[in-house]
Symmetry: C2
């Protein structure tokens, strides 16, 4: 007896149409009550979603965090009422009918787009198109990685993702599709809501792609079905589940706003309430004579039975994990990595001790790699990777092995030249709750993955972005590859730590902070060029933890404070030495993280920055520095794009030299 049969048994008294119409009615009613929203997609995909939940999805409403649950990702996040309807109908805790009635209102769990953390059962924040399908690829990758680590008994589930035309038009979808096809992530099943309508009207206004051929070109299995035929949907899902050799695209031909006599199949159904008259007409056409928000008891019971159907599986899983090895148990501890806090601390201390004793000039990207040599064995949850810049980014260590379609026990991912897909996949990996992902590219290319970085921050996910070649110090590659505005632009994103360490010891400390920030993503901005050793202390105190600190105090009352980050801290120290020779007492403050510094109390901040004139130094534009400067203080950095030349030449040309800084300081203290 298979699952589907059991469950069909449990719900046999209620028709498929009634179950699907419950979704349609709740969706149109909630959008109407909110006076805004998107009824068309939930109404169009209600049949597919109903069959998915009825016949195949392994989930348990009362155990929304069960690690081995199937994932359901609504990439077309504007259709949020589809998801909220499903969560309410299947009985997720907290998703009451009141929440449905409060769709899109202040303080409700039912935001305009699904927001991770607002309600149990929302697997990821979607809405910015294409993100969900790329998260789903990350989830499918995490399923394989965890399967290889925990075994088939503990992790072996599917990832279902509903994507619309909009998702598939976004470039990120190609990166995701291509990566999933390459890695042959066969547990991933994408249900394409092929309704032929987007906001401007028929999709034929703007797109002529053969999506099925496109997915096939990236190594996917594909099918086309009628998205309103329950039997066809059920059969397609069974076929896809039975063959996990490659990811699956099921293109579901649907009618947007299905059931609405006047609006079905039109762009009008997409993004606005149907209006009371059309809702009445729709109820009639669907044969759904109930009051707004009213779901008859038998229909609700049938749905609730689905929400409870897998409770036994969850219990059995809990038993299995309780007898698993401590290494496997640690994978599912929250927050991930915490069981290994001691090993982490020891690894960081070992790294700091090594670096503090090493006089050689190395780039901070190299210090980062050397830090990883300690971290990777201590913390097996760390899964590294790079967007085809492995050697440049220094993200691979002697403890790494490349993940391939045939080996998911490995721990290093070749993301390809797909920065956006990488970042979104890392969000999916982090959402597993069992992986700490880090991935790399050049800092300038944070622009390519910025929408996903923003979602890491919005979703409070610990994703670590290793962003090297962090200034004009990148040199000859020129202005297209030189970040000048990126540090400020990233510091602008809420709940994101932007860390720019100055030497080996600071780099190890910043890694420790990144791993410790369980609710916050981190950008590690690392240099291409070498830096002098600045810190020779290797105590367990993490001096970067306060965001900024006095690296060198002036002897006696300060005449001037030099504040810098990363590669410019060494310059500041050199300038301070020149100033000392002139009898000017300069303190040097290293500020690896403005966010952490902002979080300190006023007294610490004032004591650190001091009352003397301040000069901030960063090989970038000034914008984020004004917060720490007063009228009369100075900034030494860039005002425009960089240029192509060796790094030393550029630093000279742009006035980033100890001489120039000392000159400005001398003038300032006159």
């Amino acid at each position: 007896m298979n699952e589907a049969q059991t469950r069909t048994g449990a719900t046999e008294a209620v028709s498929h149409a009634d179950m699907a119409n419950a979704i349609r009615a709740l969706s149109m009613d909630a959008v109407q009550a909110a006076k805004s929203g998107h009824p068309g997609m939930p109404m169009g995909m209600a049949d597919v979603a109903t069959v998915l939940y009825r016949d195949v999805l392994r989930f348990s409403a009362n155990a929304p965090d069960w690690p081995n649950r199937d994932r359901f990702v609504l990439s077309a996040g504007h259709g949020s009422m589809l998801l909220y309807s499903l969560l309410y109908l299947t009985g997720y805790p907290g998703m009451t009918i009141e929440e449905i009635k409060n769709f899109r209102q202040w303080g409700s769990k039912t935001a305009g787009h699904p927001e991770y953390g607002h309600a149990a059962g929302i697997e990821t924040t979607t809405g910015p198109l294409g993100q969900g399908i790329a998260n789903a690829v990350g989830m499918a990758l995490s399923e394989r990685l965890l399967n290889a680590r925990a075994g088939n008994d503990l992790i072996n589930h599917h990832i279902y993702c509903i994507a619309g035309d909009g998702c598939l038009m976004e470039g990120i979808s190609q990166e995701a599709i291509s990566l999933a096809g390459h890695l042959r992530l066969g547990k991933l099943i994408v249900l394409f809501d092929d309704n032929g309508i987007s906001i401007d009207g028929s999709t034929s206004l703007a797109v002529s792609d053969d999506q099925v051929a496109r997915f096939a070109a990236s190594g996917w299995n594909t099918m086309r079905i009628d998205g309103h035929d329950p039997e066809a949907i059920s059969k397609a899902l069974a076929t896809a589940r039975a063959d996990s050799s490659k990811p699956w695209l099921i293109a579901c031909r649907t009618v947007i706003g299905y059931g609405s006599p006047a609006r079905a199949g039109t762009a009008k159904a997409h993004g606005e309430p149907l209006g009371p008259d059309e809702i009445t007409a729709t109820r009639e056409k669907l044969g759904w004579p109930y009051q707004p928000f009213d779901v008859p008891e038998d229909v609700l019971n049938a749905w609730r039975a689905l929400g409870a159907a897998h409770e036994g599986e969850v219990e059995a899983w809990n038993k299995r994990i309780s007898s698993a090895s401590s290494d496997v148990q640690a994978l599912f501890a929250k927050p991930v990595g915490e069981p290994r806090a001691k090993a982490l601390a020891a690894a960081v201390t070992a790294a700091k001790t090594q670096f503090a004793a090493d006089e050689s000039q190395k780039a901070t990207r190299v210090w980062s790699q050397l830090t990883l040599e300690h971290l990777v064995p201590a913390l097996p949850e760390l899964i590294g990777g790079s967007a085809d810049l492995t050697g440049s980014n220094g993200t691979r260590t002697s403890h790494h092995k490349s993940v391939t379609p045939d080996d998911f026990s490995a721990n290093y991912i070749h993301y390809g030249v797909r920065e956006h897909g990488m970042a979104a996949a890392m969000n999916g990996l982090a959402l597993s709750g069992s992986i700490i992902p880090y991935g790399a590219t050049f800092l300038v290319f944070t622009d390519y993955c910025r929408p996903s970085i923003r979602l890491s921050a919005l979703m409070h996910q610990r994703v670590i972005y290793v962003m090297t070649h962090d200034s004009i110090g990148l040199g000859e590659d020129g202005p297209t590859h030189q970040p000048v505005e990126h540090l400020s632009a990233l510091r602008a994103i809420p709940n994101l730590h932007v860390m720019r360490p100055a030497d080996g010891v600071e780099t190890a400390e910043c890694w420790e902070l990144a791993i410790g920030a369980t609710k916050t993503p981190t950008i590690l901005a690392l240099s291409r060029q070498g830096v002098p050793r600045l810190r020779t202390d290797a105590s367990s105190e993490n001096r970067c933890a306060k965001g900024a600190y006095v690296l060198d105090e002036a002897e006696g009352a300060r005449d001037v404070t030099l504040i810098a980050t990363g590669t410019e801290v060494g310059l500041a120290r050199s300038a301070a030495k020149q100033l000392a020779e002139r009898g000017i007492k300069a303190a040097v403050v290293s500020m690896p993280s403005m966010e952490l510094f902002r979080a300190q109390d006023d007294a610490y901040r004032e004591e650190t920055l001091g009352a003397a004139p301040r000069i901030a130094i960063e090989a970038a534009i000034a914008q984020s520095w004004y917060e720490w400067l007063r009228p009369g203080d100075r900034f030494v950095g860039l005002k425009d794009f960089g240029a192509s030349a060796p790094a030393g030449e550029l630093y000279k040309q742009f006035g980033l030299t100890a001489d120039h800084i000392a000159g400005i300081a001398t003038e300032l203290v006159k």
Copy 2:
């Protein structure tokens, strides 16, 4: 007698191999001299480039701006020495052998990646992968648009684009390919450098796509050829030129670093100098016994003959344009639109007059649409569009018609849900020198197209980004759709004007400034929600031109200055009224553009902002405001992401109310 025959005649004494080897030798020598760079790609694609220039490319080295030239776009910009070699060999003015020797040095024309404007013949700045192919799509679109306007005799050319594996892995390439296929841009011919190698090693580490099938799925014609077989290349190009029904992909199987005995076909050939010994061995293997940077006279002459081969065509074209209609001539005037300066001024004045007299509350996106109703007929060079948000963005007017594969005489482009592809295509449109493109999405989705916005700024292109729904005022769609950090993050980009008008008159003025900024792209940040009329003056003076100005002066000496942008200026005025009732004299400053304000002299800036305490108000984060605030001044805005609720509720919850602002001001002036 066809072109190819003539030209083969002119170069018949010199072998194809020698011509191609000249590129290879210059490339490896220049990279070696620079001690950095990418020899592998120019060496691998030298055969394709040689045949392209010899047999088909219609260009004239001495007329690099000839509007009807074929375009050659090197999307794989790291292979810049391929382009520089071609420009030197064919005799582009200024591209001397000294420039080749100074590859990647300060002040040279030969930057690490091709920089538009550095040397004649560089059609666009490339290096950030995928941008070039998307620019090429814009160029192919511009070719069709201008063909429809100027006629076959004046505009009828091809666009050739070399793209590598990296370009095709980037998501933006999919948006570009999909758009080009949909619009059937048959003059576009993409030459895929299918060398199977990327930085991390074999592309098989990260990608398994069938690129030919992928392009075919988007409606392209496709071919596979041996990229080292001159006859096959020539034949393929002839075939592609003969059939312009769809764009063409020619996948050229090549060996990276062709000619290098030890490194050909390896990742080592990609991004570092070959080294003196390997260069010697390569010279021997290629049969190129000449000194570094030395090209024998006969080979150079053969290349130079190609550079001069179309001078007659240019001359004939110049004759034709001189007898064309003034409307057609205006298309090719520099800067574009200048001949219509009077019409532009009249349109803006008409809009301002209309808006100043209109008391109704309208969103600034609506004022923008009403402005466009005046601008579009006055300035036929304006080509509008939206990434599938036409109605929401207000980008379409009664003067618009949709561009379709069968009608390029139209002036409105449905870019689809392809923000990144849209922005890069707009760069391509602007680079034609004959079009002023504007395109739209929500402000939050500037993140999706940020790499291309940065290139608009770096290339000094007048691209106008109409970015609506510019704050939490977007309301119910919630934090994924609400920009909070984007104004600051965009203000961080050099040479970009970020304009946030406060009412109808300001919106018209900002449009005037955007069109007038011939060397600078503009972001117009526009509201979803209505704003009160603030300006009733409709004089020809553009008050936004100084970036900020005193909208309401206090009666008598100021007690406080309220500084705001966009939708918050009305709030500031309301707060000032409340304050006046309390006897507190508040001035209101509108600051539509920080960039233009920064460019004013100190005296104006100080006079505008005043000596009194300042309160800055913007429904966004503070970062970019600290520049205008002193210790003790205040900022009213957001510190974190927004939320999903009606806009009015959000403004209340986040303290963006006249009451709250007046309260803070009262406290501040105590």
